[in-house]
Symmetry: C2
């Protein structure tokens, strides 16, 4: 069972018990009695149908949009101004959605679960549809690692920044043991908390470790943007600046603060979307530092010249093949970046660079990236 889910579920009950439940007083229309404003949304039925509700007597149109819908669905209004719609059944997964109320994008005010990011447009409500058993990303009664939030002073960028670090279960028990490190990057509009909050990397790895399917390693998740404001000439330099921070600040800091195996054989670099562009361009151009490289739905240039971005793969592909323990790219067929991933795989093939190209179902969403992580983590540090 997932603890976060439990927390929320309990909390709702406790609120009822303690009489501390949310009273939508400010949002209450004149004359509505308080019982009628306790709107339950989303409500998930046993057969995985989901009902969304919103009390908005003055609204003339309410839509719901979400990853579980091909197109927005309109809610319908009852005599009390309560809008609702039932959709599904929806396959068990974690989805993001929002309402649009008379043209204004809004959260579901009945739902405390919120996906945040580093831009306003990424804020959405969370719908978690649970299956009969635990999912691979659920918290289960197995040994758990620790998520550490760590501040560091970036000398290359001149600012204080934050890392998220996962250490596997038992990390503190053996002060002599050293571990490999996966550097793992988020996508655009997100931040250094995305892979733990949305990607559930810690729970996925805890579960794989408990099943004996992966080797223990540390995961380091930096903030994936490099260009501070007012940096002269920063235009287009995001990856270059991020790369400097990673190579000059983050990696030395991590190797000094955590018990790492600080060599290329024990360093992997993977990212998703914008972070996939970063992991491929930094990783494949620094095979002295990394031996495993991955890109999930990678944000490579759709029209760019790969031979210019990755010159060593053209001039000496056999050196790359000798140095790479793993080169793994994956993309969902419904993802707008799928043609780019296909073109990149073809470039690698043309140059004789060994790699895995995982073509999966799915779009540009976290459910794809969680599954990729679950698939790739067992391959890391296993050569």
């Amino acid at each position: 069972m997932n603890a976060n889910y439990l927390h929320r579920a309990w909390f709702r009950l406790v609120c009822l018990i303690l009489g501390l439940g949310f009273q939508a007083a400010r949002g209450q229309p004149p004359g509505a009695d308080s019982a009628s404003v306790r709107v339950v949304s989303p409500e998930i039925s046993a057969d995985h149908r989901v009902t969304f509700r919103l009390l908005a007597p003055k609204a003339s149109e309410v839509l719901v949009s979400g990853e579980f819908l091909a197109a927005s669905r309109a809610l319908t209004k009852d005599a009390n101004g309560l809008w609702s719609v039932t959709v599904g059944p929806i396959e068990p997964e974690i989805y993001y959605y929002n309402f649009t109320i008379d043209g204004v994008r809004a959260l579901d005010p009945g739902n405390p679960e919120v996906k945040t990011g580093s831009t306003a447009g990424t804020i959405q409500s969370v719908l978690e549809v649970r299956g009969d058993g635990p999912a691979f990303y659920d918290g289960q009664p197995v040994p758990h690692g620790e998520i550490r939030t760590r501040w560091y002073q970036s000398q290359s960028l001149g600012t204080l920044r934050r890392l998220t670090v996962y250490v596997p279960p038992g990390y503190d028990r053996d002060p002599a043991a050293r571990l490999p490190v996966l550097y793992l990057f988020h996508g655009a509009n997100a931040d250094e908390t995305a892979w733990t909050r949305l990607g559930r990397v810690n729970l996925i790895l805890d579960n794989l470790l408990a099943a004996g399917k992966a080797r223990p390693f540390i995961v380091v998740m930096p903030f994936g943007y490099g260009a501070p404001p007012n940096t002269p000439g920063a235009q287009g330099q995001n990856t270059a600046l991020f790369s400097r921070d990673l190579l000059e600040d983050v990696i030395p800091f991590v190797d000094s603060q955590y018990r790492t195996l600080a060599d290329r054989d024990h360093r992997a670099i993977i990212g998703l979307s914008m972070g996939g562009g970063e992991s491929l361009s930094i990783g494949l151009n620094h095979l002295d530092l990394f031996s495993m490289v991955g890109g999930f739905s990678a944000g490579l240039s759709r029209t760019g010249d790969f031979a210019r971005t990755f010159p060593h793969l053209v001039t000496d592909p056999q050196a790359a093949n000798r140095q790479l323990h793993l080169l793994w790219i994956g993309c969902g067929r419904e993802d707008a970046l799928f043609p780019t991933a296909t073109r990149f795989s073809a470039f690698l093939t043309q140059n004789g660079v060994k790699h895995t190209f995982r073509q999966s179902g799915g779009a540009h969403t976290w459910m794809v990236w969680r599954r990729y992580l679950d698939e790739v983590a067992p391959l890391l540090f296993q050569w």
Copy 2:
């Protein structure tokens, strides 16, 4: 400078640079051009006036409510359906606010900073007004501790739960050093992340430590609800169940997993609001385990019989005085719980129990609690 703030500020610039900025396409009214939908809200001027904006052509009333306003303020609509209002100047602090659009409570869709909680009613947008220099709660270039997210199996509650743990700078450097522990509880509608996300306990302590004003200690922040759903007879048992989890699971787990000084002299217990009711009732009834007890705007019963909740303080107040290194209660004069805090202080005084009653300005808000923490932390473990 505060790194989180920097992250966001950078991010907004980088978005502009990269052309990845949020385009409120779904919220776009027919005919609006995309330049006009890039709504800047909130906009903070140099003199700390704040302008809120919302594009909602079909709305007939938009209000903003927040901790910086005595009452809701109406926004006014221009010919393009852009609502706005300017308020202030507002004193530098971190505030929470929301819009009400035709009676529906909503976040500010222009603002990525969101305060979440464990109930829907706690979701608000965040307004951070910055002063000329760094605040006591800002990230600064000083040594930083680590925030650790730790899962544990609660035997007493039969579920997987999560702790937030702060370890001070250098905790990993000396594997022989042992530290005192503060158990710190959140209020109703919040969760185990509230004291770090909203309370900024880590940054406040990092700053105090750098200034030589506090002794290093570990802070343990559990999830403050004890009653899981469908627990027969759980009604009214929240504190009792939370207490069992704390005493039978959390404290032994922490003492086994972290390098603590595991005795009453080195254990403090403090909470805010509902958590203040918990810290006072558990702490003052377990002086064998704790020697420092605090309650911030404590959620004690407004009408309850303190002599029944705290019998030992009546029967043997001198024993309590000998055992307590610190008993600190604080409440803002604008807080609805102020009369309760006053009554509790009078109860302590009548029984001759030494304590500090800090009567401050302010209401039932995080800005009061952050200041209390900054004031109390230097007093801990210093006898």
